[in-house]
C-alpha cells in the first residue's frame, strides 16, 4: 500500500517536472506587438509588425521631459502565402516570439482590403493569442508606413492610434471605432457590409526617427480620414467625412458630436455651434406596395457652444427656431449620406436587418437581389433636437456690440 502511494506520488511529481513549462515564455522573450499592418503585394500577404522596445519606453516614461532618446518601436515585415505563414516567417529575422495579445490596431491597406478581409478574420477568430477587440483601420496605399510613423505625446504609436480612435468615436462620432468583432458581425449580418475608418499620414516626410521627433511641429502626423465601405469581405469605396456623419446618425453610432448651424431660416450662414451630447436613432421600415420606406427617427439633445447671431436667447421662440435649424441641418446630413450610400449600392446602414426583422417573409424574396432593392428604398428622416443649455451667457456678443 505504501509502495503504491509512493509510486503514485512520484509519477505525479514526474508529470509536473516533465510536462510543465512547455509553453512558458519569459517576458524578455516576447516581442510585444502594438500594431499590425497587412498589405498585399505580388500575390502574397505582407504582414508588418510594430514591436515595442520595452527598455526604451520605460526609460522614456521615467524620464519625463527629456523626450525619447531611443526609438520606442521597431517595424518589420514578413511575406507569406497566408497571413499566419507570414507571421511565422518572422522567426527567420526576429530574436523574439511575436506576441499579439496586446496588439491594439490592425491597419489594412486598401489593396489588401480589396482582396478580402476573410483570411484576417479567420486568423483573429481561430487563434487564442490574438484578441477580437482589436480596432481595424484602412490605409490607402501602403499600410506599413502607418506603423512607421511616430507619434507625439503617446509613446507607442499603436496605442496612440487606438486612443485617438476611441476619443474620436466618443467625442466626435463621425467615424466609428470598429473592433474586429464588429467587422465580423457586419460581414455576416443580412446586409453583408461594414464600414472601417481610414488612417493616413498627412504631410511628408514621415516622422520615423528620433531626430524628426525633436520639433514642436512635426512634418507629418497620423490622422483619421474617410470611411471605407466594405461589401462582403471586400472594400468597394470611400465616403467622405461629411457623408460619414450622416451614416453615423443612421447607424445610431453618434455618442456626442459638434457641428455648426445657421440661427434662422433667413440667414444661411452657419455661425453657431452646437454640441450634441446624446442622440438615438430608431429605424422603422414601412412597406408600400413593392417599395420600402425607412422611417428614421433621430432624437437628440445637447447644448449651445457658440453663437454669433443677433438673437435674444431669453425668448423661447428663438430657441425653438434654433432647434428647427438644427433639425434641418441633421436631416440634410442624413440625406447627403443616403445619396452617397445609394451610389455605392451597399447597405452599410443596416436596413436589411430591420426589414428582415419586421418582414421576415418578404425578406426571403428581397435578399436574392438586395443591393438592387436597397437602391429602391426611400428614406423618411424625422429629427427632434432639444437645446438643453445655453451656456453661461444669454445674449451673444454680437448682439451686445451691435445694439450699442
Amino acid at each position: 500500500m505504501r509502495r503504491i502511494a509512493r509510486v503514485f506520488l512520484l509519477s505525479i511529481g514526474m508529470c509536473l517536472v516533465t510536462t510543465g513549462c512547455w509553453d512558458r515564455t519569459e517576458l524578455n522573450e516576447l516581442a510585444i506587438t502594438s500594431a499590425t499592418a497587412i498589405d498585399w503585394e505580388d500575390g502574397q500577404w505582407v504582414v508588418s509588425y510594430q514591436v515595442v522596445i520595452p527598455s526604451a519606453i520605460s526609460a522614456a516614461m521615467s524620464a519625463v521631459g527629456e523626450g525619447a532618446s531611443k526609438l520606442p518601436v521597431i517595424v518589420y515585415s514578413t511575406k507569406g502565402k497566408t497571413i499566419r505563414d507570414a507571421v511565422w516567417h518572422s522567426s527567420l529575422e526576429s530574436p523574439r516570439k511575436l506576441f499579439f495579445s496586446h496588439t491594439r490596431v490592425i491597419v489594412v491597406s486598401n489593396i489588401a482590403a480589396k482582396q478580402g478581409l476573410g483570411p484576417l478574420m479567420d486568423v483573429y477568430f481561430r487563434n487564442p493569442d490574438s484578441r477580437e477587440t482589436v480596432s481595424v483601420l484602412i490605409a490607402e496605399g501602403n499600410a506599413r508606413k502607418i506603423l512607421e510613423q511616430l507619434m507625439q505625446i503617446q509613446i507607442i504609436p499603436g496605442d496612440g492610434i487606438e486612443e485617438m480612435m476611441r476619443r474620436e468615436a466618443a467625442d466626435f462620432s463621425a467615424l466609428p471605432n470598429v473592433r474586429i468583432y464588429d467587422l465580423a458581425m457586419g460581414i455576416v449580418s443580412p446586409a453583408h457590409s461594414a464600414v472601417l475608418p481610414e488612417i493616413l499620414v498627412s504631410g511628408s516626410p514621415g516622422v520615423t526617427s528620433v531626430d524628426a521627433m525633436n520639433r514642436t511641429s512635426l512634418t507629418s502626423k497620423l490622422r483619421l480620414g474617410r470611411l471605407a465601405v466594405i461589401r462582403g469581405d471586400k472594400m468597394i469605396g470611400w465616403l467622405t467625412r461629411n457623408e460619414a456623419m450622416g451614416v453615423a446618425f443612421m447607424r445610431d453610432e453618434i455618442n456626442a458630436t459638434t457641428f455648426s448651424f445657421p440661427c434662422h431660416s433667413q440667414d444661411r450662414k452657419e455661425s453657431s455651434a452646437f454640441r450634441l451630447n446624446h442622440s438615438s436613432t430608431k429605424v422603422t421600415p414601412r412597406k408600400s406596395g413593392d417599395h420600402y420606406a425607412m422611417e428614421i427617427a433621430v432624437k437628440g439633445e445637447g447644448m449651445l457652444l457658440e453663437t454669433n447671431c443677433d438673437l435674444d436667447l431669453n425668448k423661447p421662440e428663438v430657441i425653438k427656431e434654433m432647434e428647427k435649424q438644427l433639425e434641418i441641418k441633421v436631416k440634410d446630413m442624413i440625406k447627403t449620406s443616403w445619396n452617397a450610400t445609394k451610389n455605392l449600392q451597399t447597405d452599410i446602414l443596416g436596413f436589411a436587418d430591420v426589414i428582415h426583422r419586421k418582414y421576415p417573409k418578404q425578406w426571403k424574396q428581397l435578399k436574392k437581389d438586395w443591393p438592387a432593392s436597397f437602391v429602391q428604398v426611400k428614406i423618411d428622416p424625422h429629427v427632434k433636437i432639444t437645446i438643453k443649455r445655453m451656456g453661461l451667457s444669454k445674449k451673444s456678443f454680437k448682439s451686445i456690440t451691435e445694439n450699442n
Binding site: L16, L27, F99, S101, H102
Partner: protein
Amino acid sequence: MIQTVLGTSSDIVVRKINDDSTGLDGVAFVYIYDLIDQQTVNQMILHPLMTEIGEQTSPSSSSEWLKIIKNKVLSVGQVKELHSMDEAVNQLLEGCTLVFLQGCTVALAANTYGGEYRSIEEPSSQTVIRGPKESFTENIKTNISLMRRRIKSTELRVELRQIGKQTKTHVGIMFLKGIAKDKIVEEIRTRLNRIDTDSILESAYIEEFIQDANMTPFPTIENTERPDAAAAGILEGQIAIIVDGTPFVLLAPVTFVRFFQSSEDFYQRYDIATFLRIIRYVSFFISMLLPSLFIAISTFHQEMLPTPLLISLAAQREGVPFPAIVEALLMEITFEVLREAGVRMPRVIGPAISIVGALVLGQAAVQAGLVSAAMVIVVSFTAIANFVIPAINMAIAARLIRFVMMILGGTLGLFGIMSGMMVILIHLAGLRSFGVPYLAPLSPFIWTNWKDTFIRVPQWAMKKRPPTMASKNNITRQGKGQKPAPPGPNSDT
C-alpha cells in the same frame, strides 16, 4: 534516606535540631535551597519550631509531636502528611520543606514554594494598542491566578496533572463546566493521559502529542500568551491547557477563522475590527499566493496584464539572467535567510543586518541586474503581508505553502495554482480539531457564527456562542434587547 534518592546535590539542605530541653528530639528539615522561599522557611517554619515549641506541653509520643507541629507550629498555608518516600521526594522537588521526626513514620510537607520568577510583563509576541497589557509568565501558578482573576465563575475548573517522567511538568486544563463540551474535555483528558514521555519543556511538546493531524502545515491548536485571549476562548467553550515553564497557553478546539482574530478586534470599534479582519484574510492570500501569481502571469498569461504594466515589467526583465521562477525562489530564500538571521542574531548586530538586507540584497541586486525591481516589490510585499496574520503558526503555514505554490505556478501556470488551492481547500475541509470541523462556520455552514468570522458585529448582537465548541444547552451569551438606544421621548431627564 533522602540523599540516597537524590544523590548528594549541594543544593539540598538538611537541617537537624537536637534540643533535649523541650523533649523534642531529632527534628530534621529538608528542603532544596533554590526552590523555596527563604523567608517563608525562616519565619514560618524554623522560627516557630525553635522558639514557640517550648511553650507547648510536651507530649509523650512522637506522633503527637507531629500533630502539634502540624496544627500549631507550622504557620504556612498548606501542610501535608506524607506516608511514603516517593511522595516525600516529589514534594521536595516541588519546593516543599519536609519535616521529619525521629521515631515517626509520617513526615510533614509544608509548602514553601518560592524562588525567582519572571514577573508579569507586557506580551511580546501578541501586542495590542488597546487592551490588557498583562501576559502569561513561566509560572503556572501565576498563570492560573491571572485566569482566575478574569473569570470569577464558580464553574471554572482547573485540573492539574504532571506529565514527563523526568521533568514532572505541571500541566493544567482549564475550562468552564457547562460551557465547554463534556465530550471534548474528556477527549483532552484522555489524550493528555496517554502522553508518556520523559520531558515537557514547552506547550508545543503537548501540542504535538495531542493534535489531531500531524501531516498538515495548518495548526489545529491555538496558542496565546494573553490571559484575556485565553479567557475569551474559555468563555466560548474552548479548553485551555496551561503548561508550567512557558507563557504560551494552548487553546483547543480551534477553527481556521480563529487564527485571523486578534483580541484587539473586540477592544476596538466593530467597524474597524471588521475592516482589519478583511485585511488579514487578504494578507493571508497575498502571502500565500502573490509570488506564484506573479510568476504564473508573467510567464504563462502575459495577455492578462494591462499593456503599460506588461511593457514596464518587460523592460525590467531585460537583462535579468534567470527565469522568473528561479528569480522568485532566489529572492524568497534570501528573505527567509534574512528573517531567520534577524530572529537568531544578537540584538546588538540588528542595524547591521538591516543595512545588508535592505541595501545590499534589495537595491544592489536590482542594480546588478540579478533580479528585476518588480520581483523585489512582490517578495517584500509578500513578506510584509505575512506579518499581518495575528497567529504566528498560521503565518508559518502560509509561508510554507507559498513555496509549493511558486513551483506549481512556475510549472503549470494559473492552472497549477488553481489545483494547488483545490488541494488545500479539500485538505482544510477534512481537518478536525478535537472533533470540531476546521472550517467550521464556513463548512459546515453555521449562520450564527458568521457574526464573528469575516465581520465582527457589535457585542450586543453576538448573542450566541459558537455551537461547534460550546455545549448545546448553554449557548446563549446574553439577554435580549441589549442594543443601546437613546432614551424615549417620555423618559424624563
